[in-house]
Point group: C2
Chain length 149, copies 2
């Protein structure tokens, strides 16, 4: 966790956001990540997502079961979703969501929005082409060598 | 939306997952994305995330306000979080979460988990080093040329 916190602090000095993350397995550091949203123009480049991408690339698998993630701050919904998809086994964090909100990074709106039905969200959303929507899934079901995950 | 669906279907033929996304602005396609999770060993490489990254890179900003996203399927929590962070103005989707679950891609567990307090989630999580957690935020507050987002 000290490494995640020092990466976060160092990232601020380099012009990035105050967030860092480390993925480890059995005490060995597999990969690290820092927030690069404004630096590389990627709204998904949060520290946890960057660390997950780097760890998956290093281990050659999208399945990070058995690894744990150390995040300098409690993850936002996007990063928490990524942690579940990556099947990380354990999450450690230092600062809380409330600490992040006080520093100007408030993801409580997003947590709240995700808990609502689509029709109640502030993001306008609409279903289109329902009659054609099954095409990709039909192709998937017909693919003998598909890789489920 | 027809482009998103045909990208999804084509991606299955290329060994990827049955998901595609298109980001457009005022009728012009800015970027596209398909699911590359197993192909590139990246658990975050969902179609929507890939399209957001490509659009942000093309426009040179992490702020995609004024753009809309067409997703072949209703987004998972990670992608929906990414859509909020990217400030996309509107979401269109074709297949529903239930259609995806029937095809073997069930994100209802993740939606449910995100709605719970950390202590109630299936993912074990624990706070560490609370007394050192403010270090990165203190550095951020002291950075005169910080870029808030």
């Amino acid at each position: 966790m000290r490494l995640a916190l020092s990466l976060a602090q160092e990232n601020v000095r380099r012009g990035g956001g105050p967030f860092g993350a480390v993925i480890a397995r059995g005490g060995e550091v597999i990969a690290t990540g820092v927030n690069r949203v404004t630096a590389v123009h990627d709204p998904t480049a949060h520290a946890e997502v960057q660390a997950i991408r780097a760890a998956a690339a290093r281990l050659g698998t999208h399945d990070l079961s058995g690894c744990e993630i150390y995040a300098s701050c409690e993850p936002c919904p996007m990063c928490l979703g990524a942690i579940y998809w990556a099947r990380l086994s354990r999450l450690y964090y230092a600062a809380t969501k409330d600490d992040a909100a006080r520093a100007g990074f408030d993801d409580s709106l997003i947590y709240h929005e995700l808990s609502l039905d689509a029709a109640a969200r502030s993001l306008p959303s609409e279903r289109l082409l329902p009659d054609e929507a099954d095409g990709p899934f039909a192709a998937w079901r017909g693919q003998p060598d598909r890789k489920p995950y």
